[in-house]
């Protein structure tokens, strides 16, 4: 049933937020510490176990997938309901910060990829030749 998936998702989110509140109280911070992140890790773990036992049927999956696919539209709604007028003075921060982070991150990709290049580090066939191969197979 679809509601099982939705309920599983809801339970994970509530549990994550409860743990987040407890951590916040424990370290003396007046905020929810990482509830969303904890909930995501919890969902990954629970779904993995349920799938191993074959206890997650298609319609339950749909209940979670539906909300997952609403993610971008909800982010759009979030963007449309912020105090952008108040943020405009900070425009240069957004551009400078964003571009700087992207430049440094790109530079680090080959460095980290080379660390422990395993069996998945084999380059894929050239896309064109791969497509040719597929068409030959048909």
């Amino acid at each position: 049933m679809i509601i099982y998936g939705v309920a599983l998702l809801a339970a994970c989110m509530l549990a994550g937020n409860v743990i987040g509140e407890l951590i916040g109280a424990a370290i003396g911070v007046d905020s929810n510490v990482g509830g969303v992140g904890l909930a995501m890790l919890l969902l990954v773990f629970v779904v993995y176990r349920l799938q191993q036992n074959g206890r997650l049927d298609l319609s339950s999956r749909r209940g979670v997938e539906f909300w997952s696919s609403l993610y971008i539209p909800i982010v759009v709604a979030m963007a449309a309901s912020q105090n952008v007028v108040g943020a405009v003075t900070g425009g240069p921060v957004a551009v400078v910060g964003g571009l700087l982070v992207v430049a440094v991150s790109f530079a680090l990709v080959p460095v980290i990829a080379r660390l422990g290049a395993g069996k998945y580090a084999v380059p894929l066939d050239e896309l064109e030749s791969a497509q040719n191969k597929e068409s030959h197979d048909e």
Partner: protein, 255 residues
């Protein structure tokens, strides 16, 4: 009469928001396909359009909730509010396949932590240099430099104002769009031609839409690998942003 008709929309605020956002996304997807040849994802254009509409809404009403201050669009506040937002974000973790994630191995893990450390530190430093010295502001902007999700989630957890949250969405959006555009151009230079590099790439960049868009334009077969570590990045970022990162910033800046 017109008041009576308007009432249909305002009393069904959330439903009106669904319809309005759907229409906006339809337009933005058309713009993406026809004006940018698919190079910039419709989703990134839609988020940017959302920010612009929010700006217009703020100028018109003088309020602090962007377009949601206009009665007709008040449902946007509920749709994009923290409850449904967090619910949908948690749901995206459903796409993470633990078995596949194991393939990422050591360099995947290193990429995730480096990928979060770089924006937290650089974003935070840039914010500080631009005069944001409050720990909450530095943390929210630094988290926004991770992704436009980690920023708002972190910001609302530590009590940042709506203007800071808007700023963190904007910085995440700059990152997302530039990743989409730059990736296909420099994929060869950084040897982004195999699943392992794609897993590292997703963990390093973290912006799911930027990674998916950039890899799709490079080689569509790499998208699932990059998108998976990027999703994991979001979860880890939402965990570390309001906790470890905030505590470090607060210890450094005081307050």
């Amino acid at each position: 009469m017109s008041e009576r008709l308007l009432d249909v929309f305002t009393s069904n605020g959330l439903i009106t928001a669904f319809a309005a956002v759907g229409l906006l996304m339809l337009i933005c997807n058309l713009v993406s396909t026809h004006l940018t040849a698919g190079r910039i994802h419709g989703s990134a254009i839609a988020i940017a359009a959302g920010l612009v509409l929010s700006y217009i809404g703020g100028l018109t009403t003088g309020g602090e909730d962007g377009l949601a201050d206009i009665a007709l669009f008040s449902g946007l506040g509920l749709m994009g509010g923290s409850m449904l937002r967090d619910f949908a974000i948690v749901a995206t973790a459903f796409g993470v396949d633990v078995g596949e994630l194991r393939k990422a191995g050591l360099n995947g893990v290193v990429a995730l932590f480096a990928g979060l450390g770089v924006p937290f530190v650089l974003g935070g430093v840039v914010a500080y240099l631009f005069g944001y010295t409050d720990p909450v502001a530095v943390t929210t902007i630094g988290a926004g430099a991770a992704t436009y999700i980690v920023g708002p989630v972190t910001g609302s957890a530590i009590g940042a104002g709506s203007d800071l949250i808007a700023l963190s969405i904007a910085i995440g959006l700059v990152k997302s769009i530039s990743v989409m555009i730059i990736t296909p151009a420099i994929a060869r230079t950084i040897s982004l031609n195999n699943p392992s590099a794609a897993l590292v790439f997703g963990g390093m960049m973290g912006t799911t839409s930027g990674v998916a868009g950039g890899l799709a334009a490079t080689d569509p077969r790499l998208v699932p690998y990059g998108a998976m570590t990027a999703t994991f990045y979001t979860g880890l970022g939402c965990l570390l942003g309001p906790s470890l990162f905030y505590l470090i910033v607060r210890a450094l800046l005081g307050g």
